[in-house]
Symmetry: C2
Subunit: 363 residues, 2 copies
């Protein structure tokens, strides 16, 4: 069979699927994408075992066809096609791709060679896509990247009546975001942080439909369907470590603070936790760092509460900057006291966000 | 002493010097830049043994000072300074850098710790900078990158009466560019290709002054002075291998051809020389490539000379695209015959450029 499709639709759709397909795998089926044509649409599916994804775009399809093709080479070819339209013709063992004066024949295999994926047809939960995206993006940085207990590399979703919370922690810092919206589901889930990235990338406008099944969260949104494998394990009981009383707190522009920390931290020794020191007195925040090549310092006027106390604490500069990342305007930093008790970062314009950073122990 | 300088002047000047300073070296002096202040200017010098560079910018300097500082950290700090002006104050063992509310103290060492560099005051040659830049940039790609005889990793400059030619070859392809301008010098030089890159980056408008001394070409241009160490060795006698007679030649748009070759080559096996086949008949160029996943093809109408012959040749796609790179408009490809005789690429709008590519042996 033969179908004519816009290059842009094919390229954009394929890009979302290709991104998750592993470049190398001991399972050759995983390097394939499956193409399903029929019902006025082209569907492309792929998997990396942690995430299954199905993406579709409308096309003038007559008849039906299901085959599989090597994902990355197919995507590379489609990206550079010379004309705006592409003709796909399914032969016995070859996919003929024609665009402008260019033609290619790409090896086709049976659809059964690709991973067998199934996406639910019914969904019991639903939530605004942009809100879910903001919730997940605000906390994802706090998950561990490697060398940690598995649950630290995940983002926990707490779904309960009227509320959706995402939380991530690596044991040294934590972030949560409380959404005042219900998904209609009630469950605690841990989604791998890498899968969260992929989910966020497909979230646009409108609603997301959600379905829970054994070990899996399924998401349907517009032209995309994803299955996200869930993580086992017990997420730490984090709420009890978030301090509630703060002798001193300061407010200032988050981007201004992040920029100053990044500038001062250039002098810090990367091998010594990338340490920056914060000193607060009389409405002035002084940030310093010292390393083998010298010392740097920057001062910022801040609005201070609890003016009778001074604060001197040290942080990993990266952790501090990460915690400021989701805050676009004014931020409050609240200090719970001694050098080992956590500090809390909140967004003055959005009470949903809270981050906690544990200061470095100093001498 | 203290001096106030514009951040932009300091950052831009430092960037040119820092770029050549090695990040790691067994010689700790090489990681330094030397700062010389005096005579209404700040001078920054650095070296990587192959290239010495001195760059300067005007500044309101009273008195004089010569010291050295670690190159990369200094450059990192300067790039992110918050205000438009920077105050540099030279202390006993520290350089105080102040900008806006930010200050830093960076370790200073004696100027004698930095490499001892000398740049000539008198120059016997001279040439237009933009023309020299175009000459060098047009051929540099053809130099070998590694695993070859040393001279193949250099660009040869043939300076003689009324003419300046740059030529590079790795044994499989060659490029030269003939400039109808004299430098006033007469010599054959081989400059390491990496040094050619750095020289090209500082070439702007106006003239370049040249001086030759034992094993070294010195260049002065505007605010920059460079010493380029020359390579020893005998450059191959390349002129005798450039064919003079061509049974068939074609003309077409170089960017159009390069794009088609790159698109078709996606199917080529990278392990088999990235082979693309060119077939020319009756004014049509057909480009094909075949690999383990399939076969691709593109046709382009060309203006053909020598219409009674067909041409079927194979090339490394990268070599072909590289040779087309310097040609912005129409290009002529001239074929000298059998599969092992070189093909020649010329720029229809600029007779100065010639590239030669040896086809792959087939069958």
């Amino acid at each position: 069979m033969k179908v004519l499709v816009p290059k842009k639709s094919l390229a954009d759709t394929l890009a979302h699927v290709e991104r998750i397909v592993p470049t190398r795998s001991s399972n050759p089926g995983l390097s394939l994408v499956r193409l399903d044509l029929g019902d006025g649409a082209v569907e492309i599916t792929g998997s990396n075992m942690d995430i299954d994804i199905r993406a579709r775009f409308p096309a003038d399809v007559r008849g039906s066809e299901s085959r599989a093709v090597t994902a990355h080479l197919f995507a590379q070819v489609v990206r550079v096609l010379p004309a705006e339209d592409v003709e796909l013709e399914f032969g016995e063992s070859e996919l003929h791709i024609a665009s402008g004066n260019y033609t290619t024949k790409l090896q086709l295999v049976s659809a059964a060679s690709a991973p067998k994926l199934s996406f639910p047809n019914t969904h019991s939960g639903q939530i605004d896509a942009a809100s879910l995206g903001r919730t997940l993006s605000s906390v994802k940085y706090a998950a561990a990247v490697a060398d940690y207990q598995a649950v630290f590399r995940g983002v926990k979703l707490e779904l309960k009546d009227g509320k959706t919370r995402a939380v991530a922690t690596d044991g040294f810092r934590l972030a949560y975001y409380d959404l005042d919206l219900s998904t209609g589901l009630a469950a605690d889930l841990i989604v791998p942080a890498r899968s969260v990235d992929e989910l966020v990338k497909v979230l646009g406008d409108g609603d997301v439909k959600l379905a829970l099944s054994e070990g899996q969260l399924s998401v349907e949104h517009g032209d995309y369907a994803l299955n996200l494998k869930l993580m086992d394990g017990v997420f730490p009981d984090y709420e009890r470590v978030i301090p509630q009383a703060f002798p001193v707190s300061i407010s200032l522009s988050a981007p201004r603070l992040a920029e100053a920390v990044s500038r001062v931290a250039l002098m810090a020794d990367k091998s010594a936790n990338n340490r920056v020191d914060l000193f607060i007195k009389d409405g002035v925040l002084t940030i310093t760092a010292e390393g083998s090549f010298g010392r740097s310092q920057e001062e910022i006027a801040v609005s201070q509460e609890g003016t009778d106390s001074e604060i001197a604490l040290a942080y990993n500069a990266k952790y501090l900057m990460d915690a400021l990342g989701p805050v676009g305007g004014e931020v409050r930093l609240s200090f719970s006291g001694s050098s080992s008790s956590p500090s809390v970062v909140t967004d003055l314009a959005d009470a949903s966000y809270l981050a906690m950073v544990v200061p470095l122990r100093t001498g």
